[in-house]
Assembly symmetry: C2
Homo-oligomer: 423 residues x 2
């Protein structure tokens, strides 16, 4: 029986999971794929730290030992970060080794170069684990939906923020409390910026959108807004309107170009994404032939992520190698946020005077913003008014908001949240 | 540029969809896969009926003309039924042609023989469209979850019955009314037996379970119960208990063997499957590494099904040909229904006497059925009592029910419905 030789770069959480799956499922994998998968080398920083858990003969601190070993078929990068991962993967491809990685940041920043190099070398380069952990969305978009023109991808692809929003929604706590809870549960890091401010979701959206539309997105052009401004009162008002709030990563192809954005979003509570709670991830896709699809599962964690890495290793071993690695065959225009279209929830504090509603409605109308619904929640001074608009460009909405802010009868525009999904 | 030549068997709803996708996406497909996909022949019964829609030169009524044409690379069977589809596919494989099919009944009845023949011939044989239409569950189970031991697959894989149950639940109508509505909408056939009585779901479950567990299921051993006995009052009581009713196809691997069954099932209203309404399909999967996954989308219809067929054609064209076609490598025992384990909802009409509850509880206890909850709904004569059990074998439950039926204080056992998902 042929043996397929793997080198792991990194033996942290995910690396340990990959090691476990390959060890524990050895016979099953042999039966399934007709060859043995063997881990031959593991790159670590400190051998002493790991030798009680894995055979010491596998461990090395020297990447050169791995890349120069002609028996290694595939390099599996699970160290994270861009350096030295970028250099190692480049060298691996130049040394004619296939690559599997779980590294979203690396792909977002250096994906074009690395995937192009893999294609030039005729090598496989797989990255299922880089988006939504165990949810097989990369393969679905690349292969299963190959006969579709994808019109939109909308995802809950950050488990930390989804956990926080679920707590806030279910228990009425504020974001600081929910964040502390998430940190206590191990769902959020001590410095939660990468999750809370949407950067993690943006990296993943870049990968999803690039595959969906066959055109590489630019991370600098992805509008990225986190959940820091979300308050329990907005969640409550949203609920009264039949909405649930999610941090969505959204990519849409319009005749004008591709929209790609990450921001807190109300969706109808009956939308399939609304029921996705806690740390779960889900990606909702629309294709011209297939219609609506949703993929749901654990977007992070040791074993779900390792499951995705191992499915890539199996695919490489099975040598589905004639498929072009890079699916970016077009160069489509990517829209600035101002040109994107959405519906909006706008909460405004106004004076309790007659004629206020007419003045605000006039400002909306002047700027081509038509209204879906208006509700007045309670009385007193100030009075809170909530508007939900029909679809409008961000530019027009912003103009209307500027006009409204300058009205004498308006104290403040307290919140603006985009609304997605069918009305 | 190389051309990949396709012959379609059948030009009904799905065949026409496949033809449309390949014609309309021609340039896109060429860009994606680096070769042309061309439909060279279409087998129809009556050329006159189709020549206004497709070039007459493509149409033939003679299968021999297709199978003997050495330029044809893949046969795409979208005619349905087992005869003559079975003979045609056998001949195609013997003539060294790859096969793509959407035919669940054929696979359920002749899958073993045909897949084995394909492997012997070194040919590809793909059938993504045979289960859940556009939802790419076959590829997910075969490829994406390859590193997992799947413990259970639970699916809403019949759109007709899901539509009927959704109507009944939302509007309180009875099954006859909902069925007439479904027929009027084109979601149910004039003779709805295949859907309503669960046979369609059973064929699909055979395919899913066989892949999930790597062991071929036997259609004769799949317990199949349709939705005819479901009444609005059960749906209402279920709702009061926090349950939603779905026709589920369930396959589980237990230490004792594989459970495979199709029946109406209550699931907690918070379970991801509970939110799947109307004609949508969804498949919920649990793997040891990946945890819980759900795949959701349109399980039928012209273009979703054609999307799946075309993804198979693309895969064949891309020649992912080293993957073994048949994933059934084990021969595991398949359990009879009596040995399967479930929770149960049991509704009983009793006399309004003291001591009734004790007598019924005693019968449950004597047969090792422990109770999760009991509710009395209203008073009068008879009194309806609803029990929900903890997990128990079907055999024990049946014994308990027989004992309860023989009690003097019991008028009738009015309904028994299985409950799945976390309590």
């Amino acid at each position: 029986m042929k043996t397929f030789n793997v080198a792991l770069l990194g033996l942290g959480t995910v690396g340990t999971g990959v090691y476990r799956i390959i060890a524990e499922h050895e016979a099953d994998l042999e039966n399934k794929i007709g060859s043995r998968i063997a881990i031959r080398k593991i790159l670590v920083r400190d051998i002493a730290k790991h030798r009680t858990r894995v055979p010491e003969s596998l461990l090395t601190t020297d990447f050169a030992e791995i890349v120069s070993d002609p028996s290694i078929d595939v390099i599996v990068e699970v160290m994270g970060g861009t350096h030295p991962a970028y250099d190692y993967i480049r060298q691996a491809l130049q040394a004619n080794k296939h690559v599997v990685t779980a590294n979203k940041e690396l792909l977002a920043k250096h994906g074009k170069e690395l995937l192009t190099l893999a294609d030039e070398q005729g090598l496989q380069f797989r990255f299922e684990a880089s988006v939504a952990g165990g949810v097989p969305i990369v393969k679905a978009l690349k292969e299963s939906l190959g006969a579709n023109r994808i019109s939109q991808v909308m995802g809950i692809i950050n488990g930390t923020t989804n956990y926080i929003l679920t707590r806030m929604s279910n228990e009425g706590v504020d974001i600081e409390t929910a964040l502390r809870e998430a940190q206590a549960q191990g769902y959020a890091e001590a410095d939660p910026t990468n999750d809370i401010d949407g950067f993690d979701a943006a990296y993943k959206l870049l990968i999803l959108g690039s595959i969906a539309f066959g055109s590489r997105l630019d991370i600098e052009k992805i509008y990225t807004e986190g959940i820091r401004k979300i308050t329990p009162i907005d969640l409550e008002y949203g609920r009264q309107l039949g909405y649930t709030l999610k941090l969505l990563a959204i990519a849409k192809e319009t005749p004008e170009g591709i929209e790609a954005r990450v921001h807190p979003t109300f969706i109808p509570s009956k939308h399939p994404l609304a029921a996705v709670s806690d740390v779960f991830n889900a990606i909702y896709v629309e294709g011209d032939a297939v219609g609506e699809l949703m993929f749901y599962g654990r977007g992070a964690g040791q074993m779900p992520t390792a499951s995705a890495v191992c499915s890539d290793i199996i695919d490489v071993a099975l040598n589905c190698g004639t498929r072009k690695v890079c699916s970016c065959i077009y160069e489509k225009k990517q829209l600035p946020m101002e040109q994107t279209v959405s519906r909006y929830y706008v909460r405004i504090s106004v004076k309790d005077n007659p004629g206020v509603l007419a003045k605000i409605s006039h400002e909306f109308g002047e700027n081509k913003v038509s209204l879906h619904s208006v509700i007045q929640l309670g009385r007193g001074e100030p009075v809170p008014l909530v508007f939900v608009t029909h679809e409008v460009t961000e530019a027009n909405l912003n103009q209307a908001i500027n006009g409204i802010k300058s009205l004498d009868c308006v104290y403040s525009v307290d919140n603006i949240i985009r609304v997605e999904g069918e009305a």
